[in-house]
Amino acid sequence: MKAFDLEQVRKDFPILSRAVNGKPLVYLDNAATAQKPACVIQALTNYYEHYNANIHRGIHTLSEEATSAYEAVRESIRDFIAAPCLRSVIFTRNATEAVNLVAHSWGRTNILPGDEIVLSAMEHHSNLVPWQLLASERGAKLVYLELTESGEIDLQQAASVIGARTKLVAVTMMSNVLGTIVPVAELAKLAHAAGALVLVDGAQGVPHLKTSVTELDCDFLVFSLHKMLGPTGVGVLWGRPELLEAMPPFLSGGDMIGSVWRDRVKFNELPYKFEAGTPNIADVIASGAAIDYLNRLGMDNVRAHEIELTKYALNRMKELDDALVYGPLDANKRGGVISFNFADVHPHDIGQILNESGIAIRAGHHCCQPLMRDLKVAGTARASFYIYNTKDEIDQFLEALQEADKVMGHVACR
């Protein structure tokens, strides 16, 4: 029984009829960015062809239409992450900017010398470097949650690390390398008991797992729309309203002000306080179409489809001699991201050879260099799935992997 009509879904994505090197595109680089359904592209075209205008301060029809479409997406996002109130949904460029916003605005007013910021060992650079810079500026310290053999959070070690000095626990919801789903609510319990806040990097989690900020019990959540069928250029910061109210603005300029004099300023209310300058209006509006599309499929179905693909892929990977798969082996504990190394073939070469068969995977450090060091590799190859991927594509992927070994001179058998 199919959770949704996969054939129909594939038809919704124009790019899937493209050929690469004479072969149909097999797009397995979804953790980097997702493809876009026609309705999202159409939302952009429709905006630019019919009601493109600057928002919030306009009195003419185009501006009113654009403003209400933009603000309606804020409501869609609020619903999508089950957030209690609207004014705590802030649009940014991407997840990275959202983390930086918190690090600058909350961090620089709250982190003191000696404080500790707890990260997991598998954080993406975007949820790591901003905290490094904050820590070094404020004399605070980064402390790491270590991973178990299978690449999971060790809650016991976490309990020993999160304590009175902890001011913030900043963790990914799902690893973009290992696929690991992090027990955020458990970590939040530890953090809150210690009086610390929790920031969740939902860049991988929100696109693939049904998300509720209340259930995660987090204080901040960041994510990027481009990884969930939306256009490039839109991220979201959600924060507890009382925290956001108390935080100073980050970027300043037009739209985020209440009144401006030559020598002083009164800021606008939330969410505008954090949205300076002309926003990415078109892409926010088109993000609404992406959210609607995911809602139509149902996030439970999205997850079910990915578990099925992941299970299948993990099983088939076992057939390969000499393939090393990282992360939890139970598809229920992980997202549809499979990082691996194969037969001593460098991930770049794997990526290159797969591309020859029209298969797009990613190769490298995946913006997780500290994790790579822990795994004692320079990089991994990574295949990642989304709603339009099929088992047939996974078969093609496996076939091409064996071809790669052949091209490189049968390293697996040397």
């Binding site: 301060r57 009195i59 501006s63 009113e64 209400s68 009144s259």
Partner: protein, 152 residues
Amino acid sequence: MSLADDLYRETILDHYHHPRNQGALEDATVKTEGVNPLCGDEVTLYLKVDSDAISDIKLEAHGCSINMASGSMMSEAVLGQSLEQAMSVAGVFKNMMLGGSQETALPEELEDLEALQGVRKYPVRIKCALLPWNTLLEAIETSRAKGEDHQE
């Protein structure tokens, strides 16, 4: 419907051209400023509160027709009312502006305000109509807080 029917009805233009209770109030007990950050329109509201009632009210308003007319009508509607009553009128008005598209029938003494219903079709202007009322609510709150201070 034309703009003149919806927005620029005679009552509104009358209040706009001849706004009631304009100016400063020397013996005000509360003075509150309101601003619409989107357009910069400002209103300064003066209340004289005597034993929990608005015994005098004046506005210094710089704004568009809707803003001016709404403030002028408001000053007439709440002058002489108890703070309680004024708050309830403000509630009725805000409901009318922010509620659905149905026409709301207002009590006779608030009839003038009905003219502002047409504004609901112009979402951006709703804020203009609400500014004086939100400022009133803030002023009442301030007045009450002061009262409590005195009692302590």
